[in-house]
Symmetry: C2
Subunit: 347 residues, 2 copies
Amino acid sequence: MAAPRPGPNLSRIATSLGVSVATVSNALSGKGRVSGQLVERIREHAAELGYVPSQAGRALRTGRSGVLGLVLPDIANPLFPKIAQAIEFAASAAGYGVLIADSRGDVAAQTEAINRLVERGVDGMVVIPRRATRISSASCPVAVIDTPSTPGNTVAADHWQGGREIADHLAGLGHRRILIIGNNQESNVQNDRVGGIRSGMRPGMHSETLWIDRLEQENGHDCPLGLAEKVRQGFTAFAALSDLQALRALTELQQAGINIPTDVSVTGFDDLIWSPVVTPSLTTVRMDMDRIAGIAVSALVDTIRTSSIREGMLVTAEIERVAMQLIVRQSSGPANPAPKTSEMENM
Amino acid sequence: MAAPRPGPNLSRIATSLGVSVATVSNALSGKGRVSGQLVERIREHAAELGYVPSQAGRALRTGRSGVLGLVLPDIANPLFPKIAQAIEFAASAAGYGVLIADSRGDVAAQTEAINRLVERGVDGMVVIPRRATRISSASCPVAVIDTPSTPGNTVAADHWQGGREIADHLAGLGHRRILIIGNNQESNVQNDRVGGIRSGMRPGMHSETLWIDRLEQENGHDCPLGLAEKVRQGFTAFAALSDLQALRALTELQQAGINIPTDVSVTGFDDLIWSPVVTPSLTTVRMDMDRIAGIAVSALVDTIRTSSIREGMLVTAEIERVAMQLIVRQSSGPANPAPKTSEMENM
DNA sequence: TCACTGTGATTAAACGATTAACCAGAGTGA
DNA sequence: TCACTCTGGTTAATCGTTTAATCACAGTGA
């Protein structure tokens, strides 16, 4: 039992070379005073033996595990792959591992997930909070990715500006009546996006917002959104706050015989995986997740490196909002002056 | 520097109670010989102080980190959220943390990702291999989730049987000419699904397979699949090997004015997040990821617990294939005896 | 009375790395 | 020659936990 971990350790290298472990440690880390040639010999021999430092030993001594936690609100979120990929990439470039924790369920589950990570000794964590929750400080540095307008946010996409991009785009195409389709009114992100769209509207433009979760509370899950009726009411553009809702709108309209983009336009957010491959491909707004993750992780790592005491603090970064980029595809086009008649033709 | 980690440790509890650390350790782990009341007192006091064992200390002593690695072929895979969620859930129930590693890129990157995990001292790992790669044994137990027909597979959904479910369903609806739509012919999973569909076809039925990546190599990325032409050729059902391809097919057909399911049927695989919300909602086959993850993790944990030596071995489970479940929704219906005319009506 | 057996606890040695403190020897300036 | 500095290394303590080995002591049967 308790089999010793395989592979060489510092002391094996040391005895094998006739020097002390301290010297080997210094040579490999480049910290103490060791002569150039000895450093060379030690490095060479270590590589030869395939030496891999024990994270456990190091962690015990230094008090740092070299691991970051990643807390996700809802791992089933289709945006998650990109986030996790970006965070893992940035962290591993900085020499850190990433431990995931799913806060599926409510806010209590989120707190519990955070605690699990702390117990595992993460040096810090990146939290993507559940809608409208604020992180009560854990006992380690925390970087929050939500939206720039949330207090305590570290870095995030500029959802507001993203909204303006959409509004500009649609206004430029001549759309005047826009239906905004959101999922949940509690979401900080979605609220910012709505705010951005509204603020980008020009005089004479009109918008209305449809919140799906409310609709579903009345009409049941996966109910139709009744968009054909909205078209009849004169809406020519449907700006969804996520590509998932955009997809829902797009297929519902298509099924009703309404052509996109000839009759009406549909736009989304996030550039999710299906956006380029559906027909018509989806005009959307993409966030630069790699950049956001990079900023979050490096801010986190800086804090970890400098703060000697393990305190629970919200990390801040110099850049806290990253611009979103409009991706124009086929689902948006010039406003049809008379969409109703066009619809009639199709029937 | 090197601030001591906060919170109490064993020795603090021990001195505070006037006993030895060994006794405290024994009391908390329930291993040595400690009198009942002393155990009680120690437990109580530990809880009071909010004692959290140091994973680093434990890991160093026992040689086990209490962490599993999760290697994913392509984190951007839309199925990933479910997988990660299920694995994390199962692992955390077994007292393990989950370290993720993205093997984005080629097989070399996969190997590199595995090595990173080993260096971090994971006790074992779950690998979802890149298409058609076999895992060369790492220096820890490995559970592979691919497909039952792959050699070395630990546990997976029964993709073959899933294919049969689809074939049965379509056959029962009267479809005779089925177009199978896959992404990549190298994928073990997709090949099993194709095999299942073919094996489930009844006499007089005909199928053809369309591989998207080949088509894209010729016609460029995100090119149309030319499904309207296939409808004209008499295909009445389109069986995609993933919901992503099903979505692509569905929207392309809709855009061409072909009604689903009146004119033709479309089915997918995996029950991805959008499947229930698109119009028409997608008939698909779901895999029980929670069960698969549970089996994989418990097999892995068993191996870790029993094998004293840290060897690189492929873990096996008693149950190695988990049935897939057909989810019938709106996108599949009775075969239209004359789809071509129906299509003409719509134009 | 003596050897023997449990019971309940302690002692001390690991695990592997880091790092402050120390030490030997060579060179240097007064 | 002496005190001093610089260089290149060693010694030893430490992080927190686990666990084999040991010990004190009470009860027991011969």
